[in-house]
Symmetry: C3
Subunit: 316 residues, 3 copies
């Protein structure tokens, strides 16, 4: 998309030489041909290092935009980015892509739907009512149970099992809100990557990234009815028990255990080998590895037991 | 259905002139040709204003039935209403309805199932394994992702997006229980209406009303794995984050925000612009607009923070 | 499978006369032709009464194996059992089974998939995108709404209703973990049995047993988005409200009520007529019948109210 068209859409005067913008991305990840934006003053430090060719900013933030980048000044950068995200969203399916490729030994139910551009490895089992979207790749020996839905551009590794009615790569929960309280969708143009030997239960939801990738690493075990928000990263061999939920952009190390109905807020980091008891609610990053937590607000498990003992005394 | 047949089913003597009953409804909503019932003494005040042609009551409540209405006296009105609800339930599908209508520019996967009597607007995308029930109407430019299921008689507006494996209009959780502890289903003969520009995540469940409508108003954003009970009303631009749950008949104003894993009990009213932090549990109506709450039992967010600080001291 | 092959797989020397092992099972349930294992020292008392033909044990447990049984001594019995479970797992479908039988008066959508070996009773409604696995049996007058998935070997009774996108019999969350933190799947070779007159909401997950049966008894009511773990037993007429979760192997008596978002840990027993308020978290067995509980940790509901009143005073 031409920068001049972008400027017109977001209502900015633009009189320089025109050029092509290939995508929208975060300040940190944007390439030299991409557009970025500053949604929040806490990202101001990321501006000066950004490679983005153009950056949507408000008047206060304009001065931080580096020389090699063009500042597009608007009142509400996040709202304007949401408006533009639609133009960079690929179509749900694409008839111009090549016919799907199915590896040797794979059994695909005639009642499954495999979109053009998809690639399925060898010895897979794709059951009835599965949907595999455009450009999805599936490794070898992977089983997708009935009504599993994998949205376009996602990748599933080898030796994976995904149980019935689970959704991989539906849109993350992203929108900008105007002063009047109306919402504008931020199209989620990233994907989900699931590495090898992962098993995922039924009716679980793993959202695609807004930009980049939601990553489920090797050997992870996810139970039924679990929520994984956009741009999360789940470390190797981590275990998410039923009805656990993780908000967007949280990253955890390997062998983290989340008990049933536990939850982690967004944009946190959880150290490897952390265990969260059932119903834990995590609102701050956990930096020390190997500890066990409980409660909401979160505390070390032994403290939580002590607190509950004190509370029990209150009513005696 | 004839009133004489109804009387026979619920074991009431009926010797007056026969007439037709067109449906069952609440005391407040019943029309002059409908039947109603008194399930709970707290609804006694609604009896005298009811337009219902006949009302199922117990012996104690009989005296409140107005002159223009016939009292059908039984031991357990709720149980007998449950018994009758089955007779007023429409069939799941109906072969006598006209062929479904698909608007210009809409793409319907051959692997979707569109029941007779359904109407789909223009430029919609109906993906594989979607089910659209009898008499459902879908507006223009709406996208239904794979395995979305919309039960009969529901309405979805224009410019909506519903993500994979979500269910709209399955039966609300309604039943009567006998003294021996057995349950009898209350057929859920209402519907769900979703207004324009609503986006709903994956594996979410929005139940149809027992009578009347479960209403999702314009611009609402609902995340994954959310539960909306029968007869709820979600105000314009409200935001329900993942794994939130709302029991039946609760009504909220516009721009209400429910955090992740929060919950609201049934039959409450939530003022516009209320924010509930993650894990909030609401058991009373919220009348003042614009406040932020947390905790279970619910309290203002600043009080909750204060309480947690006090509790933290207990274990030091 | 020959015991000699089993010994080779788990790296045990075996020089006795060879014989056939027909399956793996728990110490208590194993028959005279089955293999069992001791995963945890708390099961030591079960060894001496086990009828199992062979038992996988570690060096410390070997002495408890009775005379009629062969001890297979390994370092990590649970890990070796997980390794073996794969060999006893039936294929997902089986082309050698007979064509499915559909009872008189049953309507099966051509867009449903019924695997070989399945049996559907009379007057059932099987809607589009339903999956019914190998050897599944469905009683009479049962309705399966769109995208319901029933895995192989499960049984659903008569007069049941299962709502859209619900999964019956997906694999329980079972795996062994090595000292290095890697997981090995324990194939879930049991099933789910749902008795008569049960209604289950949408996007609910009921896991198949590791060995034996996950049992949902007569007249149970399960709401949307509920998790029932492997090997649970839900008593007659029990009521599980939306987003409730039960970990594995918990057994409850009749007419138990679990409020919304409540949870029960694994391996517990819950007395008949127990009521758990919304958000209850149960970590110990409940032995006395007819009580009402709340909170996490759980306490009697009246105590919980008292505690909340005290806590409210703390912040005044």
């Amino acid at each position: 998309m031409k920068i001049s068209e972008i400027a017109t859409i977001i209502g900015v005067d633009f009189n320089q030489e025109d050029f092509e913008i290939t995508g929208i991305n975060t300040l940190k990840s944007a390439s030299k041909t991409e557009l970025s934006f500053v949604s929040n003053s806490k990202y101001i430090n990321d501006i000066k290092d950004s490679k983005a060719r153009a950056i949507i900013v408000d008047a206060n933030t304009k001065e931080f935009v580096p020389e090699n980048s063009i500042a597009l000044v608007v009142e509400s950068p996040y709202w304007e980015m949401a408006k533009l995200s639609k133009y960079f969203a690929p179509s749900i399916e694409d008839e111009t892509l090549p016919e799907p490729k199915i590896g040797e030994g794979s059994k695909v139910s005639p009642k499954a739907e495999i979109a053009k551009g998809a690639t399925i490895g060898e010895n897979c089992t794709i059951m009835a009512h599965v949907y595999i979207g455009a450009n999805v790749t599936i490794g070898d020996n992977t089983t997708l149970h009935p009504s599993v839905c994998i949205y376009r551009d996602c990748k599933v590794g080898s030796d994976c099992i995904i149980h019935a009615n689970t959704t991989i790569g539906s849109d993350g929960f992203g929108f900008a809100t105007s002063k009047l309280g109306e919402h504008k969708k931020i199209y989620q143009n990233g994907n989900v990557v699931i590495e090898d030997s992962v098993e995922i239960g039924s009716s679980t939801a793993i959202d695609r990234a807004a930009f980049g990738t939601t990553l489920i690493k090797k050997g992870v075990r996810i139970d039924n009815l679990v929520q994984v928000g956009h741009n999360c990263e789940i470390g190797e061999y981590s275990v998410l028990v039923s009805q656990a939920g993780i908000a967007g952009s949280t990253k955890m190390g390997r062998n983290v255990v989340m008990g049933g109905q536990s939850a982690i807020a967004g944009h946190l980091e959880i150290a490897a080998f952390t265990t969260m008891a059932a119903r834990s609610g995590v609102t701050k990053s956990i930096k020390e590895s190997g500890l066990t937590f409980a409660g909401f607000p979160l505390m070390e498990h032994r403290l939580w037991l002590k607190l509950q003992a004190k509370l029990a005394k209150l009513v005696k």
